[in-house]
Symmetry: C2
Subunit: 205 residues, 2 copies
């Protein structure tokens, strides 16, 4: 792996060291697979938690229903979560096909294509981060209010609604962090190709 | 440059083509320099616009002063803006020294160090994006209110304050976009080293 042995040609690496590197390489690819699974699973859970969150309150005989659509930013969050889940599903299918057919991703152009694909992870991570930051800000206003601007707390009225929404946002934070890690791993995988032409884009075997 | 000619060894590139690539390379390095200047200048302007923004209103004989500290997220924005300006200043000084001393950044370890440094741009870009997203969300609430949550508009009271804050946030968006571009250019510059050992990290000559 180039980023652990820049400037060391494969022929100069002792066999035991080479085996260690192969082991680290296998572990990195396993981490990639786990991250893609985490993104897919958690994005689905987060979407369901947010999109189905609702609570009805009766205030002076007026029934009021809190819904995630009351905060426009949560609609944006749900859309980005669905995009993240869809993207990860496509990557997992690609990974599954590659595991069944064997290691088919030796070529540099294909590695570049995967790297470009993982730039979508970075774009999605940026989108997710925007949604998470804006949602967190809204959640803080809802939880604590903003006295200087006379924005009142709403979470003391809709406690159950707020708690579930908080769980959804925590899920989105996890998805966002996983995407950032995945994007970093993808970039390093491309660097590896330039010292050692093996294993980039493969799924763990 | 590797990302325009992957798989083409330097020896096989016709001279005129090589000259074209050198020209493109020079332009990319110029864009890098311009981006660093933009980040430094706009981050300073944005910080000043936000941190000095204030407006006094008399409501029923009560004097009320609007300040950027009324929204906690704007304090976060100012801190990140200052970090961005400081980082860009350091990089510009490095660039200036390199231009005076000549092209000193031929080595891979040094290119890696610069690349690692530009990962700070990515971290700063993530921080800036969080601050911008949260501030924009707060600005939307301040401008339009959120009827469902009974959060009232405040910008019809503090029009001048809000306009200036908006200009500050637009500046921060520009800084954030410049950082994302710079981070991408930095990653590609490192790739270049693996096909062609020249010019990475140099300042335009």
């Amino acid at each position: 792996m180039s980023y652990l042995s820049v400037g060391v040609s494969p022929g100069n690496v002792p066999v035991s060291h080479g085996n260690n590197l192969r082991e680290v390489d296998r572990k990195i690819r396993l981490v990639e697979l786990v991250l893609r699974c985490v993104i897919f699973g958690v994005a689905i859970v987060s979407t369901v938690l947010i999109a189905t969150d609702t609570q009805v309150k009766e205030i002076f005989s007026i029934r009021k229903r809190a819904r995630f659509t009351d905060m426009k930013v949560l609609i944006f969050m749900v859309v980005v979560n669905v995009l993240a889940a869809g993207y990860s599903l496509v990557q997992l299918v690609r990974c599954g096909v590659s595991m069944i057919k064997g290691s088919v991703l030796f070529s540099k152009p294909l590695a570049w294509a995967i790297f470009s694909g993982d730039q979508n992870v970075e774009i999605l991570a940026y989108l997710m981060l925007s949604a998470v930051a804006a949602s967190l800000q809204s959640a803080i206003y809802a939880q604590y209010g903003e006295a200087d601007l006379q924005w009142m707390k709403t979470c003391n009225l809709y406690k159950k609604f707020c708690n579930r929404m908080g769980e959804g946002i925590v899920g989105a934070v996890l998805v966002c962090l996983s995407m950032v890690c995945l994007s970093g791993i993808s970039a390093f995988s491309l660097f590896r190709l330039y010292d050692d032409d093996s294993s980039t884009g493969k799924c763990p075997t």
